[in-house]
Protein backbone atom coordinates (compact mmCIF):
# COMPACT_ATOMS: atom_id res chain seq x y z
CA UNK A 1 0.00 0.00 0.00
CA UNK A 2 1.41 3.36 -0.93
CA UNK A 3 1.65 5.76 1.95
CA UNK A 4 1.74 9.26 0.54
CA UNK A 5 1.94 12.02 3.11
CA UNK A 6 0.38 9.58 5.56
CA UNK A 7 3.77 8.09 6.16
CA UNK A 8 5.00 7.11 9.56
CA UNK A 9 7.36 9.65 11.00
CA UNK A 10 9.99 9.20 13.66
CA UNK A 11 11.26 12.08 15.69
CA UNK A 12 14.58 11.69 17.41
CA UNK A 13 15.84 14.26 19.86
CA UNK A 14 19.62 14.52 19.84
CA UNK A 15 22.06 17.38 20.07
CA UNK A 16 25.47 18.41 18.89
CA UNK A 17 26.72 19.25 22.32
CA UNK A 18 24.09 18.15 24.74
CA UNK A 19 21.68 15.33 25.19
CA UNK A 20 18.15 15.90 24.17
CA UNK A 21 15.30 16.77 26.43
CA UNK A 22 11.56 16.40 26.67
CA UNK A 23 9.60 17.45 23.65
CA UNK A 24 12.32 18.97 21.56
CA UNK A 25 12.39 16.83 18.48
CA UNK A 26 15.67 17.41 16.76
CA UNK A 27 15.60 14.91 13.96
CA UNK A 28 12.42 14.13 12.08
CA UNK A 29 12.54 10.85 10.16
CA UNK A 30 10.10 10.02 7.44
CA UNK A 31 10.01 6.25 7.02
CA UNK A 32 8.59 3.82 4.52
CA UNK A 33 8.22 0.48 6.30
CA UNK A 34 11.60 -0.20 7.84
CA UNK A 35 13.55 2.21 5.67
CA UNK A 36 14.34 5.82 6.37
CA UNK A 37 13.34 7.99 3.46
CA UNK A 38 14.06 11.51 4.67
CA UNK A 39 15.67 13.25 7.65
CA UNK A 40 15.27 16.82 8.82
CA UNK A 41 17.44 18.42 11.51
CA UNK A 42 16.25 20.82 14.18
CA UNK A 43 18.37 21.61 17.20
CA UNK A 44 17.53 24.01 20.03
CA UNK A 45 17.17 21.73 23.03
CA UNK A 46 19.69 23.28 25.31
CA UNK A 47 20.48 26.69 24.03
CA UNK A 48 22.29 28.50 26.80
CA UNK A 49 23.46 31.71 25.18
CA UNK A 50 27.21 31.26 25.49
CA UNK A 51 28.29 33.40 22.55
CA UNK A 52 26.42 36.37 23.98
CA UNK A 53 27.94 35.76 27.41
CA UNK A 54 31.41 35.77 25.84
CA UNK A 55 30.84 39.37 24.71
CA UNK A 56 30.21 40.36 28.32
CA UNK A 57 33.18 38.57 29.88
CA UNK A 58 36.85 39.46 29.90
CA UNK A 59 39.26 37.33 27.92
CA UNK A 60 40.40 35.53 31.05
CA UNK A 61 36.88 34.93 32.36
CA UNK A 62 35.86 33.57 28.97
CA UNK A 63 38.56 30.93 29.13
CA UNK A 64 36.61 29.16 31.88
CA UNK A 65 33.27 29.49 30.15
CA UNK A 66 34.64 28.22 26.83
CA UNK A 67 36.07 25.18 28.58
CA UNK A 68 32.57 24.13 29.53
CA UNK A 69 30.94 24.22 26.14
CA UNK A 70 31.57 20.49 26.11
CA UNK A 71 33.00 18.45 28.94
CA UNK A 72 34.40 15.70 26.77
CA UNK A 73 36.56 17.82 24.50
CA UNK A 74 36.93 20.81 26.78
CA UNK A 75 40.68 20.72 26.16
CA UNK A 76 40.09 21.33 22.46
CA UNK A 77 38.06 24.45 23.17
CA UNK A 78 40.59 25.95 25.54
CA UNK A 79 43.45 25.13 23.17
CA UNK A 80 41.63 26.73 20.26
CA UNK A 81 40.73 29.77 22.36
CA UNK A 82 44.23 30.26 23.81
CA UNK A 83 45.77 30.06 20.36
CA UNK A 84 43.24 32.54 19.04
CA UNK A 85 43.91 35.17 21.69
CA UNK A 86 47.67 34.57 21.42
CA UNK A 87 47.49 35.39 17.73
CA UNK A 88 45.27 38.42 18.26
CA UNK A 89 47.76 39.76 20.79
CA UNK A 90 50.71 38.95 18.57
CA UNK A 91 52.32 36.79 21.25
CA UNK A 92 53.65 33.25 21.05
CA UNK A 93 53.54 30.56 23.68
CA UNK A 94 57.06 29.30 24.51
CA UNK A 95 58.21 26.00 22.93
CA UNK A 96 57.83 24.02 26.13
CA UNK A 97 54.23 25.19 26.40
CA UNK A 98 53.55 24.22 22.77
CA UNK A 99 54.76 20.70 23.48
CA UNK A 100 52.71 20.44 26.65
CA UNK A 101 49.67 21.70 24.74
CA UNK A 102 50.23 19.02 22.11
CA UNK A 103 50.78 16.29 24.66
CA UNK A 104 47.65 17.09 26.67
CA UNK A 105 45.56 17.61 23.54
CA UNK A 106 46.50 14.13 22.34
CA UNK A 107 45.76 12.66 25.74
CA UNK A 108 42.35 14.26 25.39
CA UNK A 109 41.91 12.55 22.02
CA UNK A 110 42.81 9.18 23.51
CA UNK A 111 40.31 9.78 26.29
CA UNK A 112 37.56 10.79 23.90
CA UNK A 113 38.07 7.85 21.54
CA UNK A 114 38.13 5.35 24.41
CA UNK A 115 34.92 6.89 25.71
CA UNK A 116 33.38 6.62 22.27
CA UNK A 117 34.46 3.02 21.89
CA UNK A 118 32.62 2.16 25.09
CA UNK A 119 29.48 4.06 24.10
CA UNK A 120 29.48 2.58 20.58
CA UNK A 121 29.72 -0.87 22.14
CA UNK A 122 26.80 0.03 24.38
CA UNK A 123 24.72 1.14 21.37
CA UNK A 124 25.21 -2.20 19.65
CA UNK A 125 24.34 -4.01 22.86
CA UNK A 126 27.96 -5.02 23.42
CA UNK A 127 28.12 -3.92 27.05
CA UNK A 128 31.28 -5.88 27.77
CA UNK A 129 33.15 -3.57 25.41
CA UNK A 130 31.61 -0.61 27.22
CA UNK A 131 32.79 -1.78 30.64
CA UNK A 132 36.27 -2.77 29.42
CA UNK A 133 36.83 0.42 27.44
CA UNK A 134 35.71 2.60 30.33
CA UNK A 135 37.87 0.66 32.77
CA UNK A 136 40.90 1.30 30.56
CA UNK A 137 39.81 4.87 30.08
CA UNK A 138 40.48 5.33 33.79
CA UNK A 139 44.18 4.99 32.97
CA UNK A 140 43.85 8.10 30.79
CA UNK A 141 41.83 9.90 33.45
CA UNK A 142 44.61 9.20 35.95
CA UNK A 143 47.26 10.56 33.60
CA UNK A 144 45.18 13.66 32.99
CA UNK A 145 44.71 14.16 36.70
CA UNK A 146 48.43 13.64 37.29
CA UNK A 147 49.42 16.24 34.74
CA UNK A 148 46.70 18.83 35.14
CA UNK A 149 45.13 18.30 38.55
CA UNK A 150 41.70 17.30 37.27
CA UNK A 151 40.16 14.35 35.45
CA UNK A 152 38.00 16.55 33.24
CA UNK A 153 38.11 20.32 32.63
CA UNK A 154 41.82 20.83 33.11
CA UNK A 155 42.15 24.62 33.20
CA UNK A 156 45.63 23.94 31.86
CA UNK A 157 45.79 25.91 28.62
CA UNK A 158 45.80 29.65 28.97
CA UNK A 159 46.60 32.71 26.92
CA UNK A 160 50.34 32.80 26.41
CA UNK A 161 51.03 29.16 27.30
CA UNK A 162 50.02 26.66 29.95
CA UNK A 163 49.41 27.12 33.65
CA UNK A 164 51.19 24.06 35.00
CA UNK A 165 54.42 22.38 34.11
CA UNK A 166 54.91 18.65 33.61
CA UNK A 167 57.19 17.48 36.41
CA UNK A 168 59.94 15.01 35.54
CA UNK A 169 58.60 12.33 37.89
CA UNK A 170 55.26 12.57 36.09
CA UNK A 171 56.90 11.92 32.71
CA UNK A 172 57.91 8.36 33.66
CA UNK A 173 54.43 7.49 34.88
CA UNK A 174 52.86 8.92 31.73
CA UNK A 175 55.13 6.69 29.64
CA UNK A 176 54.00 3.65 31.61
CA UNK A 177 50.35 4.63 31.19
CA UNK A 178 50.83 5.12 27.45
CA UNK A 179 52.29 1.62 27.12
CA UNK A 180 49.29 0.08 28.87
CA UNK A 181 46.84 2.06 26.71
CA UNK A 182 48.61 0.98 23.53
CA UNK A 183 48.48 -2.66 24.48
CA UNK A 184 44.76 -2.37 25.27
CA UNK A 185 43.77 -0.51 22.11
CA UNK A 186 45.58 -3.08 19.97
CA UNK A 187 43.62 -5.79 21.75
CA UNK A 188 40.34 -3.99 21.06
CA UNK A 189 41.26 -3.55 17.43
CA UNK A 190 41.86 -7.27 17.05
CA UNK A 191 38.66 -8.02 18.93
CA UNK A 192 36.54 -5.67 16.81
CA UNK A 193 38.09 -6.90 13.57
CA UNK A 194 37.12 -10.47 14.44
CA UNK A 195 33.85 -10.02 16.28
CA UNK A 196 31.25 -11.15 13.75
CA UNK A 197 28.21 -9.74 15.54
CA UNK A 198 29.83 -6.32 15.75
CA UNK A 199 30.93 -6.33 12.12
CA UNK A 200 27.46 -7.33 10.99
CA UNK A 201 26.10 -4.20 12.69
CA UNK A 202 28.86 -1.93 11.40
CA UNK A 203 30.06 -2.96 7.96
CA UNK A 204 28.06 -1.44 5.13
CA UNK A 205 25.97 0.58 7.57
CA UNK A 206 25.60 4.36 7.41
CA UNK A 207 27.34 4.81 4.08
CA UNK A 208 28.71 8.27 3.30
CA UNK A 209 30.39 8.48 -0.08
CA UNK A 210 33.50 10.67 -0.40
CA UNK A 211 31.71 13.06 -2.77
CA UNK A 212 28.85 13.45 -0.29
CA UNK A 213 31.26 14.00 2.59
CA UNK A 214 33.05 16.73 0.66
CA UNK A 215 29.91 18.46 -0.62
CA UNK A 216 28.34 18.47 2.80
CA UNK A 217 31.60 19.70 4.36
CA UNK A 218 32.04 16.86 6.86
CA UNK A 219 34.98 16.89 9.25
CA UNK A 220 37.06 14.62 11.46
CA UNK A 221 37.01 10.82 11.67
CA UNK A 222 33.75 10.83 9.69
CA UNK A 223 35.48 12.44 6.73
CA UNK A 224 38.59 10.28 7.06
CA UNK A 225 36.53 7.09 7.18
CA UNK A 226 35.27 8.02 3.72
CA UNK A 227 38.82 8.09 2.47
CA UNK A 228 39.34 11.87 2.51
CA UNK A 229 42.71 12.74 3.99
CA UNK A 230 42.00 15.95 5.90
CA UNK A 231 43.31 16.68 9.39
CA UNK A 232 43.80 20.17 10.84
CA UNK A 233 46.96 19.02 12.61
CA UNK A 234 48.57 18.50 9.19
CA UNK A 235 46.70 21.04 7.06
CA UNK A 236 46.78 24.00 9.45
CA UNK A 237 49.54 23.11 11.94
CA UNK A 238 49.52 24.70 15.36
CA UNK A 239 51.09 23.98 18.77
CA UNK A 240 53.94 21.53 18.08
CA UNK A 241 52.23 19.53 15.32
CA UNK A 242 54.53 20.83 12.62
CA UNK A 243 57.46 19.21 14.44
CA UNK A 244 55.94 15.96 15.65
CA UNK A 245 55.77 13.13 13.10
CA UNK A 246 52.48 11.25 12.82
CA UNK A 247 50.16 9.71 10.23
CA UNK A 248 46.71 10.84 9.20
CA UNK A 249 44.50 7.77 9.33
CA UNK A 250 42.00 7.11 6.56
CA UNK A 251 39.88 4.12 5.69
CA UNK A 252 37.89 3.58 2.49
CA UNK A 253 34.86 1.71 3.80
CA UNK A 254 32.72 4.87 4.19
CA UNK A 255 30.72 3.04 6.87
CA UNK A 256 30.34 2.72 10.64
CA UNK A 257 33.06 0.06 10.79
CA UNK A 258 35.55 2.35 9.05
CA UNK A 259 34.79 5.10 11.56
CA UNK A 260 35.52 2.67 14.37
CA UNK A 261 38.86 1.64 12.90
CA UNK A 262 39.84 5.23 12.11
CA UNK A 263 39.39 6.12 15.77
CA UNK A 264 41.18 3.03 17.04
CA UNK A 265 44.18 3.70 14.78
CA UNK A 266 44.13 7.38 15.77
CA UNK A 267 44.56 6.35 19.38
CA UNK A 268 47.76 4.53 18.43
CA UNK A 269 49.01 7.61 16.55
CA UNK A 270 48.14 9.84 19.49
CA UNK A 271 50.05 7.61 21.88
CA UNK A 272 53.08 7.89 19.60
CA UNK A 273 52.73 11.67 19.50
CA UNK A 274 52.62 11.71 23.31
CA UNK A 275 55.79 9.61 23.47
CA UNK A 276 57.55 11.91 21.01
CA UNK A 277 56.46 15.00 22.93
CA UNK A 278 57.76 13.52 26.20
CA UNK A 279 61.08 12.58 24.58
CA UNK A 280 61.53 16.00 23.01
CA UNK A 281 60.06 18.29 25.66
CA UNK A 282 62.04 21.54 25.34
CA UNK A 283 63.32 23.33 28.41
CA UNK A 284 62.24 26.79 29.28
CA UNK A 285 59.30 28.82 30.53
CA UNK A 286 55.73 27.64 30.17
CA UNK A 287 54.00 30.95 29.65
CA UNK A 288 54.43 34.55 28.67
CA UNK A 289 52.71 37.58 30.11
CA UNK A 290 49.92 39.20 28.17
CA UNK A 291 48.02 42.49 28.38
CA UNK A 292 44.38 42.66 29.42
CA UNK A 293 43.25 44.50 26.33
CA UNK A 294 43.37 43.01 22.87
CA UNK A 295 43.97 45.50 20.05
CA UNK A 296 41.35 45.59 17.24
CA UNK A 297 41.97 42.47 15.22
CA UNK A 298 40.31 39.56 13.51
CA UNK A 299 41.70 36.07 14.05
CA UNK A 300 40.77 32.47 13.37
CA UNK A 301 41.97 29.46 15.29
CA UNK A 302 41.37 25.83 14.46
CA UNK A 303 42.26 22.56 16.10
CA UNK A 304 41.56 18.96 15.24
CA UNK A 305 39.31 18.08 18.15
CA UNK A 306 38.56 14.36 18.66
CA UNK A 307 35.36 14.86 16.66
CA UNK A 308 36.87 16.95 13.91
CA UNK A 309 37.65 20.50 12.91
CA UNK A 310 36.89 22.92 15.71
CA UNK A 311 36.75 26.57 14.67
CA UNK A 312 36.94 29.76 16.73
CA UNK A 313 36.72 33.26 15.31
CA UNK A 314 37.50 36.45 17.23
CA UNK A 315 36.77 40.02 16.41
CA UNK A 316 38.47 42.20 19.03
CA UNK A 317 37.89 45.90 19.57
CA UNK A 318 40.71 47.21 21.75
CA UNK A 319 38.92 46.54 25.05
CA UNK A 320 39.27 43.66 27.49
CA UNK A 321 36.13 42.01 26.10
CA UNK A 322 35.60 40.55 22.63
CA UNK A 323 33.35 42.27 20.10
CA UNK A 324 32.36 38.85 18.80
CA UNK A 325 33.46 35.31 19.55
CA UNK A 326 32.16 32.61 17.28
CA UNK A 327 32.50 28.88 17.97
CA UNK A 328 31.68 26.18 15.44
CA UNK A 329 31.87 22.69 16.86
CA UNK A 330 32.63 19.65 14.70
CA UNK A 331 29.38 17.86 15.45
CA UNK A 332 27.38 20.71 13.91
CA UNK A 333 29.49 20.38 10.76
CA UNK A 334 28.65 16.69 10.55
CA UNK A 335 24.91 16.88 10.96
CA UNK A 336 24.08 17.38 7.24
CA UNK A 337 26.22 14.31 6.50
CA UNK A 338 24.47 12.40 9.27
CA UNK A 339 21.08 13.18 7.76
CA UNK A 340 22.32 11.97 4.39
CA UNK A 341 23.77 8.74 5.81
CA UNK A 342 20.55 7.82 7.54
CA UNK A 343 18.51 8.03 4.35
CA UNK A 344 18.05 4.64 2.77
CA UNK A 345 19.09 2.91 5.97
CA UNK A 346 16.98 0.84 8.34
CA UNK A 347 15.28 2.26 11.42
CA UNK A 348 17.17 -0.34 13.41
CA UNK A 349 20.45 1.18 12.25
CA UNK A 350 19.62 4.67 13.48
CA UNK A 351 21.30 4.38 16.92
CA UNK A 352 24.66 3.08 15.70
CA UNK A 353 24.74 5.43 12.70
CA UNK A 354 24.13 8.44 14.89
CA UNK A 355 26.72 7.17 17.38
CA UNK A 356 29.25 6.72 14.58
CA UNK A 357 29.65 10.47 14.12
CA UNK A 358 30.42 10.69 17.84
CA UNK A 359 27.97 13.44 18.74
CA UNK A 360 27.99 14.69 22.30
CA UNK A 361 24.86 13.09 23.66
CA UNK A 362 24.13 10.52 26.32
CA UNK A 363 21.77 7.60 26.47
CA UNK A 364 18.78 9.32 27.98
CA UNK A 365 17.55 10.58 24.65
CA UNK A 366 14.03 9.85 23.68
CA UNK A 367 12.46 8.90 20.40
CA UNK A 368 9.02 10.08 19.44
CA UNK A 369 7.27 8.10 16.75
CA UNK A 370 4.42 9.83 15.08
CA UNK A 371 2.13 7.45 13.29
CA UNK A 372 0.36 9.81 10.97
CA UNK A 373 -1.80 7.06 9.48
CA UNK A 374 -3.50 6.49 12.76
CA UNK A 375 -2.84 10.01 13.93
CA UNK A 376 -1.21 8.68 17.08
CA UNK A 377 2.05 9.72 18.65
CA UNK A 378 4.11 7.11 20.43
CA UNK A 379 7.05 8.03 22.58
CA UNK A 380 9.90 5.58 22.88
CA UNK A 381 12.98 5.91 25.00
CA UNK A 382 16.36 5.62 23.32
CA UNK A 383 16.68 2.34 25.21
CA UNK A 384 13.55 1.03 23.53
CA UNK A 385 14.87 2.04 20.11
CA UNK A 386 18.11 0.25 20.85
CA UNK A 387 16.27 -2.87 22.00
CA UNK A 388 14.07 -2.70 18.90
CA UNK A 389 17.18 -2.57 16.78
CA UNK A 390 18.81 -5.50 18.61
CA UNK A 391 15.68 -7.59 18.19
CA UNK A 392 15.38 -6.65 14.53
CA UNK A 393 19.00 -7.51 13.82
CA UNK A 394 18.67 -10.73 15.79
CA UNK A 395 15.86 -11.75 13.47
CA UNK A 396 18.04 -11.58 10.37
Amino acid sequence: MKLSEAETTFQVPIGPQHPALAESENFTFTVDGETVVDVKARLGYVHRGIEKALENGTYIQNLYLIERICGICSHAHTLCYSQNIDEALGIEAPPRAQYIRTLVAELGRVHSHYLWLGLAGHEIGFDTLFMYAWRDREVVMDLQEMITGNRVNFALFTIGGVRRDVASNVVERVRKGVNILEERIKYYKKMCANEVTLLKRAVGVGILKPSQAINLCAVGPLLRASGVKRDIRKDDPHAAYDEVPFNVITYDGCDVASRLFVRVDEVVESLNIIRYALDHLPDGPIRVKFPRRVPPNETISRVEAPRGELFHYLKSNGTDKPERYKVRTPTLANIPSLCEMLKGGYIADIPITIASIDPCFCCTDRVAIVDTVKGKKRIWTWDQLRRYSEKWHGRL
Binding site: R42, G49, K52, E298, I300, K326
Partner: protein, 161 residues
Protein backbone atom coordinates in the same frame (compact mmCIF):
# COMPACT_ATOMS: atom_id res chain seq x y z
CA UNK B 1 57.10 35.31 -2.73
CA UNK B 2 56.09 32.09 -0.99
CA UNK B 3 53.65 29.71 -2.67
CA UNK B 4 50.93 30.91 -0.33
CA UNK B 5 51.54 34.55 -1.16
CA UNK B 6 51.73 33.70 -4.84
CA UNK B 7 48.47 31.85 -4.79
CA UNK B 8 46.83 34.59 -2.75
CA UNK B 9 47.82 37.15 -5.35
CA UNK B 10 46.54 34.78 -8.04
CA UNK B 11 43.23 34.44 -6.24
CA UNK B 12 42.76 38.17 -5.88
CA UNK B 13 43.59 38.74 -9.55
CA UNK B 14 41.16 36.01 -10.61
CA UNK B 15 38.50 37.43 -8.30
CA UNK B 16 38.96 40.92 -9.76
CA UNK B 17 38.52 39.47 -13.20
CA UNK B 18 35.40 37.54 -12.22
CA UNK B 19 33.49 40.12 -10.20
CA UNK B 20 35.23 43.37 -11.09
CA UNK B 21 37.69 45.23 -8.86
CA UNK B 22 35.15 47.79 -7.68
CA UNK B 23 33.25 44.92 -6.04
CA UNK B 24 36.30 44.13 -3.93
CA UNK B 25 36.41 46.50 -0.98
CA UNK B 26 39.39 45.17 0.94
CA UNK B 27 41.92 42.35 1.08
CA UNK B 28 44.09 41.40 4.04
CA UNK B 29 46.71 38.73 4.60
CA UNK B 30 46.68 38.19 8.35
CA UNK B 31 49.38 35.53 8.21
CA UNK B 32 50.14 32.23 6.53
CA UNK B 33 46.88 30.41 5.67
CA UNK B 34 44.71 33.32 6.83
CA UNK B 35 43.30 35.58 4.15
CA UNK B 36 40.35 37.97 4.38
CA UNK B 37 38.59 39.60 1.45
CA UNK B 38 35.67 42.02 1.73
CA UNK B 39 33.26 42.19 -1.19
CA UNK B 40 30.03 44.00 -1.94
CA UNK B 41 26.91 42.02 -1.05
CA UNK B 42 25.68 41.83 -4.65
CA UNK B 43 28.92 40.15 -5.73
CA UNK B 44 29.01 37.57 -2.94
CA UNK B 45 27.55 34.64 -4.83
CA UNK B 46 29.75 35.15 -7.87
CA UNK B 47 32.78 35.43 -5.60
CA UNK B 48 31.93 32.21 -3.79
CA UNK B 49 31.31 30.37 -7.09
CA UNK B 50 34.70 31.46 -8.32
CA UNK B 51 36.40 30.37 -5.10
CA UNK B 52 34.70 26.98 -5.16
CA UNK B 53 36.05 26.48 -8.67
CA UNK B 54 39.49 27.36 -7.28
CA UNK B 55 39.24 24.49 -4.79
CA UNK B 56 37.66 26.21 -1.78
CA UNK B 57 34.95 23.58 -1.52
CA UNK B 58 34.87 23.28 2.24
CA UNK B 59 32.93 25.85 4.21
CA UNK B 60 34.00 25.83 7.82
CA UNK B 61 31.16 28.06 8.97
CA UNK B 62 29.41 31.39 8.49
CA UNK B 63 29.77 33.95 11.26
CA UNK B 64 28.10 37.30 11.70
CA UNK B 65 28.50 40.35 13.89
CA UNK B 66 26.20 43.26 14.59
CA UNK B 67 28.11 46.49 13.93
CA UNK B 68 25.12 48.78 14.75
CA UNK B 69 24.29 50.16 11.30
CA UNK B 70 25.24 46.98 9.49
CA UNK B 71 25.64 43.27 10.01
CA UNK B 72 28.88 41.83 8.81
CA UNK B 73 28.50 38.28 7.56
CA UNK B 74 31.68 36.28 7.08
CA UNK B 75 31.92 33.12 5.00
CA UNK B 76 34.85 31.01 6.18
CA UNK B 77 36.00 28.90 3.24
CA UNK B 78 38.79 26.38 3.35
CA UNK B 79 41.11 24.69 0.87
CA UNK B 80 43.34 22.05 2.44
CA UNK B 81 44.05 24.15 5.51
CA UNK B 82 44.09 27.56 3.84
CA UNK B 83 41.35 29.68 5.42
CA UNK B 84 39.89 32.29 3.09
CA UNK B 85 37.20 34.41 4.72
CA UNK B 86 34.82 36.42 2.55
CA UNK B 87 33.25 39.35 4.38
CA UNK B 88 30.06 41.02 3.32
CA UNK B 89 28.02 43.77 4.98
CA UNK B 90 24.24 44.07 4.90
CA UNK B 91 22.23 46.99 6.29
CA UNK B 92 20.92 46.40 9.79
CA UNK B 93 17.37 47.40 8.85
CA UNK B 94 17.28 45.14 5.81
CA UNK B 95 19.63 42.21 6.34
CA UNK B 96 18.97 40.14 3.22
CA UNK B 97 21.50 37.95 1.41
CA UNK B 98 21.20 35.36 -1.33
CA UNK B 99 21.69 31.80 -0.15
CA UNK B 100 24.78 29.86 -1.19
CA UNK B 101 23.31 26.46 -0.32
CA UNK B 102 22.70 25.74 -3.99
CA UNK B 103 26.43 25.89 -4.65
CA UNK B 104 27.69 24.61 -1.28
CA UNK B 105 25.09 22.33 0.33
CA UNK B 106 27.29 22.20 3.43
CA UNK B 107 26.26 25.79 4.26
CA UNK B 108 22.71 24.72 5.08
CA UNK B 109 22.88 24.79 8.85
CA UNK B 110 25.24 27.73 9.09
CA UNK B 111 22.82 30.07 7.29
CA UNK B 112 20.04 28.91 9.60
CA UNK B 113 22.17 29.65 12.62
CA UNK B 114 23.02 33.18 11.47
CA UNK B 115 19.34 33.72 10.75
CA UNK B 116 18.39 32.63 14.28
CA UNK B 117 20.97 34.61 16.14
CA UNK B 118 21.25 37.76 14.03
CA UNK B 119 18.12 37.88 11.88
CA UNK B 120 19.84 37.76 8.49
CA UNK B 121 17.48 36.42 5.82
CA UNK B 122 19.06 34.13 3.26
CA UNK B 123 16.84 34.26 0.21
CA UNK B 124 16.39 30.96 -1.54
CA UNK B 125 17.37 28.82 1.45
CA UNK B 126 15.18 25.68 1.27
CA UNK B 127 14.31 25.69 4.97
CA UNK B 128 15.17 28.73 7.08
CA UNK B 129 13.28 27.40 10.11
CA UNK B 130 14.62 27.78 13.64
CA UNK B 131 17.80 25.83 14.30
CA UNK B 132 19.39 26.68 17.64
CA UNK B 133 16.86 28.80 19.45
CA UNK B 134 14.45 26.87 21.65
CA UNK B 135 10.80 26.19 20.86
CA UNK B 136 9.03 28.95 22.76
CA UNK B 137 11.48 31.70 21.84
CA UNK B 138 9.80 34.99 20.93
CA UNK B 139 9.77 35.71 17.21
CA UNK B 140 12.06 38.43 16.02
CA UNK B 141 14.29 38.32 19.10
CA UNK B 142 17.74 37.76 17.66
CA UNK B 143 19.94 37.47 20.73
CA UNK B 144 23.29 38.40 19.17
CA UNK B 145 22.03 41.84 18.21
CA UNK B 146 23.86 44.41 20.30
CA UNK B 147 20.69 46.32 21.12
CA UNK B 148 19.61 43.50 23.46
CA UNK B 149 21.43 43.02 26.73
CA UNK B 150 21.33 39.68 28.55
CA UNK B 151 18.80 41.15 31.00
CA UNK B 152 16.63 42.37 28.09
CA UNK B 153 16.63 38.91 26.56
CA UNK B 154 15.78 37.22 29.86
CA UNK B 155 12.90 39.61 30.40
CA UNK B 156 11.51 39.26 26.87
CA UNK B 157 11.76 35.48 26.98
CA UNK B 158 9.95 35.36 30.32
CA UNK B 159 7.14 37.50 28.98
CA UNK B 160 6.37 34.85 26.39
CA UNK B 161 5.86 32.20 29.09
Amino acid sequence: MTTTQESQVGIVEGLKERIGSDNILDTRTARERRFFVTVKAEALKAAVSYLIAKGFRHITTISGVDLSDRIEVVYHLDREGFQLSVKVAVPENNPVMPTITDIIPGAMLYEREVHDLLGVVFEGHPDLSRLVLPEKWPDGLHPLRKKYSVEDIRRMVNEVE
